[in-house]
Symmetry: D2
Subunit: 340 residues, 4 copies
Amino acid sequence: MTLKPGLSTQMVSVAVLGARGYLGRELIRLLLQHPQVESVGVGSQSSAGEPLGKHLPAFRHVPGLTLVPFDHASIRDADAVFMALGHGEAKSLVPTLDEAGTRCIIDLSRDFRTEALAANGWTYGLADLDPVAKGTRRIANPGCYPTASLLATAPALRGRLLADGPIIVDGKSGVSGAGATVRADLHFAETNESVRAYKVLGHDHGPEIRGAAAHLEGRNGNARGIRFTPHLVPQNRGLLATVYAPIQDGVTPEMTKKAYQDAYQDSAFVAVVDEPDTSHVRHSNRAEIAVDVDVENGLMVARGAIDNLVKGGSGQAVQNFNDSFGYPATTGLTAVGGGP
Amino acid sequence: MTLKPGLSTQMVSVAVLGARGYLGRELIRLLLQHPQVESVGVGSQSSAGEPLGKHLPAFRHVPGLTLVPFDHASIRDADAVFMALGHGEAKSLVPTLDEAGTRCIIDLSRDFRTEALAANGWTYGLADLDPVAKGTRRIANPGCYPTASLLATAPALRGRLLADGPIIVDGKSGVSGAGATVRADLHFAETNESVRAYKVLGHDHGPEIRGAAAHLEGRNGNARGIRFTPHLVPQNRGLLATVYAPIQDGVTPEMTKKAYQDAYQDSAFVAVVDEPDTSHVRHSNRAEIAVDVDVENGLMVARGAIDNLVKGGSGQAVQNFNDSFGYPATTGLTAVGGGP
Amino acid sequence: MTLKPGLSTQMVSVAVLGARGYLGRELIRLLLQHPQVESVGVGSQSSAGEPLGKHLPAFRHVPGLTLVPFDHASIRDADAVFMALGHGEAKSLVPTLDEAGTRCIIDLSRDFRTEALAANGWTYGLADLDPVAKGTRRIANPGCYPTASLLATAPALRGRLLADGPIIVDGKSGVSGAGATVRADLHFAETNESVRAYKVLGHDHGPEIRGAAAHLEGRNGNARGIRFTPHLVPQNRGLLATVYAPIQDGVTPEMTKKAYQDAYQDSAFVAVVDEPDTSHVRHSNRAEIAVDVDVENGLMVARGAIDNLVKGGSGQAVQNFNDSFGYPATTGLTAVGGGP
Amino acid sequence: MTLKPGLSTQMVSVAVLGARGYLGRELIRLLLQHPQVESVGVGSQSSAGEPLGKHLPAFRHVPGLTLVPFDHASIRDADAVFMALGHGEAKSLVPTLDEAGTRCIIDLSRDFRTEALAANGWTYGLADLDPVAKGTRRIANPGCYPTASLLATAPALRGRLLADGPIIVDGKSGVSGAGATVRADLHFAETNESVRAYKVLGHDHGPEIRGAAAHLEGRNGNARGIRFTPHLVPQNRGLLATVYAPIQDGVTPEMTKKAYQDAYQDSAFVAVVDEPDTSHVRHSNRAEIAVDVDVENGLMVARGAIDNLVKGGSGQAVQNFNDSFGYPATTGLTAVGGGP
């Protein structure tokens, strides 16, 4: 747990569970720079007692980052707890945090997204479209593919620009999206110079996009189909979602572009551009969105580019934290990203 | 011009125009290993008189590879001429080759593809679907994206498995597909760790896929729409096309998979697999195809993985050359590719 | 020029000349986050009048970043001017800045390093070894290779651990170190999957290392020879210098390691580790140093890993700025870097 | 075991043990194209009975490649057996092959290199410097780093151009050199954008270079010290060795360059060039060597670039096989490599 000088009464203590994963370490990076955070507890059940820097050399010089078990005071007493854990782990931990009276829990796994989309005790934190209300206590952070896909589709959904029919989402993600777990197919020499789809018929982000899109379009109970195909591309970070959807008769390219411009003109983090590129948003909480209309085929083609670890995970989680605690959305998220 | 020992009467002389580009150099690599090729002339208008190895160090040790102007005897007298030139250059050269009586011209640019798809003096050389007849004299070699896309879609088109509506092709290509020309956006530090779409509304491979697909489906004069979106991914070689198309009512996943298996069971170069990966076919003339049916959304999802420079260009050109000269299709194309 | 809320009298205005290059844009990123900087002027002679975001999309959302000519008030009146220009350009600009009374000039080119090493009006800003004094007005920022090499060698030089003979520096740099200028050999497909040395006999960082090392060892006028060989490796950022030097008889591995530990134990940015890795320090102002002794061959083997754009350029420049203005060295440089 | 048409009495059967590793699969690729090889047995103790293509999709279409246990007839009866196994495995297998009367064994591990350098029953197969005699029965294939390093140093060693003192070899290798075994530090996202040294004080290629260099220089019993430092760079293939050695007084750059030119002027695979680059030799059995003299520091700087899997392993093994069986050295090794 690292303490910052200049404690003030508005400052809060936070904890990150699952500190060693790619989302966990990115959360810690962001929270250490957050001006309203006075301490960051770092939880890892498997490595409790060890310095985080033993596992992640980039953190070696930061004082106070000793990994603690999940029942440690720095977690139990934290104002906000971020959970970046494997499937099912968050669910089993929440009762303990409830008992501890944790003011705000933000879960980055898929454990509570279904509940959140059903408005069942949790709030789905798609921060640039529906910022959570101040005081929200249980937030399910969206997946990386849903974030890019929904930002790229929302103005069309909300504006009722689409004709009937399924939406096709073709996603391309950098390898950090697959997590830090060791796998034969993620060996550098097997992944470099390789592009491939995966889980074509069964990735759980498909239903997540479907549920969230239904909300955005006001089709609750009658969700539009989502065809979602994720692909792995040989880069560390960066996710591009290319979205195809049938457009209403009479909706022109100009109307569509205007709907997108209007939707995001006051957005803190989302920009409508001509040519989104994952390299433009790397290491930032920003998203680049483009929309085109293929008039000949009656299709809208939208694109959304994000950093899968920031806007697609930890950055959006901090944005949700800001919204819940009443800080400006950009607090701690002002770093300008981009290449090289 | 390099001469091989053991000339036989069946052997032929060939020439490559545009020897310094990525397709040109790959053609030379293949033709130097081809057992029926006795000499390879290498043409470059801008660098005539210089050894190819001055520009491409990998060829320094190969004797006889001096770049010649396009009117040189080693080109004029070649049995087969491969043209790997910029847009419009092939068109201006053909009359000269016609006059020289060149037995077979294979053009790798887009200059003659429209004519070829209209059966107007040229033959469209989609070698794994419609091998050119022995003696074919003018062959337009397909583009890289069309090759992968059409191999991935042909069994459905030919088998009349698709319902009405446009076909969506989401292509992902390695950077060699953009050619060797120097461009600011292809600087290593701008392209590495970057994924982006390009020419979303105007890539000429869209109409090419449209025309060829119409032939395959027997829809001449009534072509089905093609939505084609190319993307650049940070690898040297390798192209994956992901194809989405509405499937007929009553067509099951099993029927679809069987149609694909049947279509390619005797194919020399195309395999139907579960998980295509560009790394499996790198440096080979092979294609990996997969097909799935998203029953819920009534969509076929097909994938085609190729090496964009080989199957998507020079390898298919050699295959067309083999077919035209009556050699077995695999002659000179038996190298096993794949990573690392 | 972007203005920050909460101006205080201690805050300063800065300007970056050469805003579009890789060092320039990294400087702007850092300065926009710097708590003591109230405004950042961005100068580009060739693109004056245009928004920086037109050229660098990552900056599109930042208000106030319009490129200005070098004689613009936001540069002329800046408290500190950072020059990240091509060879010779800084030299021609300094008289104008002198006339404008610029309080502090920090030059990131090689224009003034020779003067600085000769203590001739400029100070060589190797910030982790010799922090410039408060009030220093003219600072020549070290090159990327010299920074890594000298950090890796300094404890041995200062501790007089080395026997006579040249020091060999074998450097490996990511491609951003070559700058953003378009070059055929930096095309992605020519640089990816390529490792090569360059300028083996003539890189200007060799004499720079030589001069600075002589100071560190107290050998002024009798500099030890430096054999410096730079290599390009296929990554965006990250520089590793591997240093070989003859060690004094009787100097043990333990003594050597202790000298390194002692030298950097209080360092804000330099850590002595077992296995330096450029991925540990990416996007940070930190350096990882290791030292080993090859007893059998009487050689010290030292390594230094840095981010070539941050510690090797813009980060060190900000550190020099901090030192000159009397801010704590880590001000604005606390971001935790590292992969992925 | 795959059979080729057109068996002739001069053709031979071969087997590869350790078919699934990176060297094993590259050997199979080369041997399938070798005009004197009639069948290739593929051995894998752990996966016996399975098709090789199950593990390596690139080989799926090749008939006859079923993995067999090491006591299978296709191995026992092979004329030549290539062993590409883990440390110690080759040693335990040789007695069985001896008993089976295997005509030629080529081991790619380090198991017999020490014996070979001591001329103890095995021959060290540094094929471009000391081709094995026809009929050689037991060949220890050199390591990848020693191959590049020794090719880069041999003309200086043989020509007695070097002064006393250790030779420093700074090696940079692509990730395939680390083998196909799954390791956390070789996860794509940990290795991409990372450069690091490893085994600075204990890599077994150091003693191997030392022993072989002593032979080349005629210093048997009095080997010159070798300081060898291997580095991992983020590419699949390609190894560059940069060699630093003290040069004799009076040896000029011209003399040195001439010695190198003379040494390799008739070489089938080694070229002396100005700027070696791993991308020039990728997927080929060639080496690029450069030599420079740093007159000021009295040092020779030599460079050797190879494909670590081909010239650094399987290609050199095939070259040794050719020499042992009396085929021209280039048989089956004529493919032109290079990028992209």
